[in-house]
Symmetry: C2
Subunit: 264 residues, 2 copies
């Protein structure tokens, strides 16, 4: 409880513990505190808030190197990683001071947020009471350049460690695919109301039975200048504060006008 | 395009196509329209919005019986089922008039919403432009009694087919474990801000290596009488209108006061 205790920072992701994005992020975090890594042992992109309760989970010590306090590879989803870290690595009464997730290889702006394992991990951190940030770079390549992303991650880490975050709120941070010099700045935004128009590529096995590969095209009818998509298109990193009351409060009155067969 | 065309209703779930909950729901829906079932070929509870884009998907005709137009078992997640149904069974320009998901064996009230495959399927329907409802019974048993749930499902199906739903909004409907006679009515609610305090049961393999089973205790500090948990505890079915702008709009001003290193 000494005032000079370094913050403890939990680092996770959804691309797996060997991805370059988490390596860059964990290394950058050593400037701010004692770094603990608990991340999936295999790629878990698109796993959203999936949790594993009907299969066993494993947590295996992992040699992460580079000044990391402790690291574990987990057999489960990103959310499993956070839940295991909170319960088994730290303890509910001894939460880390910060959780950072990423840096994801690919965008989690707009509706991607709800499919993202990176952001689900940050969300579960926030729901558990840990100030949490998810970082994503708009470049899916394994060898993407994380220089600008690390700069943004350091700026936001400093602010969140200083100022905290509102209860139950995490940050969804996306970084455009530009060099560190060309990054225009960091903009606070709302989530653009875009969606995926999915399509499937139908193929046949050598034996003639059909199967499908998911494809899709991102569509964004929301041209608001206050959106994350707009910020990214103009060369800024986007920061969206994200919360988990999904109630459409305005619709409650409408539904109360329905005939729901209640007698009294 | 004839006025008398029966509505087409897509039925899915997360417990798998052979679960009793989806059988009860699909059968009840035949009173309202032509019923199409596209549901997972194995249990997919807790899969949330997970999507499968790095593995192949299969869609296999399934003998559902009981007046069902067409049924397919899908090798993917609940959201995969909806995306395949929209793209391959109906077509984006020929959406069904209603999507119903469930009846889930177990609660999806409060924060369970974000982990639920049942509700993620309903959400993906709404995002694709289909009026969508998820139904969940607070009884996890395989042989649960779905009588009260079916009654609630019929009431809400009639209303949604008549009145539609606000754009991008689906309904999260939970039904208490009571007999049809003891059901007090249907209440429109907001999502209670509860959460899971997770724990893990540590075991060892016969060879001595550790593994974990996820456990957890639901905690609800939110005692609002307008919440889904309160409605369920008082013997009512709960209806929460759910939307997918996760922005914490009130936090935007706070974050705009931060020093984000922007020069201009």
């Amino acid at each position: 409880m000494s005032e000079t205790r370094r913050p403890r920072i939990l680092v996770t992701n959804d691309d797996g513990i060997t991805a370059r994005g988490i390596q860059s992020l964990a290394e950058a975090m050593t400037a701010f505190g004692d770094v603990y890594v608990v991340a999936p042992d295999s790629p878990q992109s698109g796993m959203s808030h999936a949790v594993t309760f009907s299969r066993i989970l494993r947590l295996t010590p992992f040699e992460f190197g580079r000044g990391i306090k402790k690291a574990y590879a987990c057999s489960g989803t990103p959310v499993d990683c956070v839940k295991l870290a909170v319960s088994e690595v730290f303890g509910h009464d001894n939460l880390p001071e910060l959780l950072v997730s990423g840096i994801n290889h690919g965008s989690n702006a707009s509706i991607n947020l709800i499919y993202s394992g990176t952001m689900a991990a940050a969300a579960d951190g926030a729901i558990s009471g840990i100030p949490s940030i998810g970082f994503s770079l708009l470049d899916e390549h394994a060898d993407a350049d994380f220089t600008a992303s690390v700069r943004v991650a350091c700026t936001l880490t400093r602010q969140v460690l200083d100022q905290g975050l509102p209860d139950g709120t995490c940050l969804n941070v996306n970084i455009p695919k530009v060099s560190s010099e060309d990054l225009k700045g960091i903009k606070v935004c709302r989530q653009a109301m875009g969606h995926w128009k999915d399509s499937f590529e139908r193929r046949e096995t050598p034996g003639g039975s059909p199967y499908y590969w998911m494809r899709g095209k991102f569509q964004n009818p929301d041209n608001g200048e206050d959106t994350d998509i707009h910020a990214l298109e103009s060369g800024h990193a986007s920061v969206v504060p994200v919360q988990f009351d999904l109630t459409n409060h305005r619709a409650i009155d409408t539904l109360n006008g329905w005939n729901l067969g209640n007698e009294g």
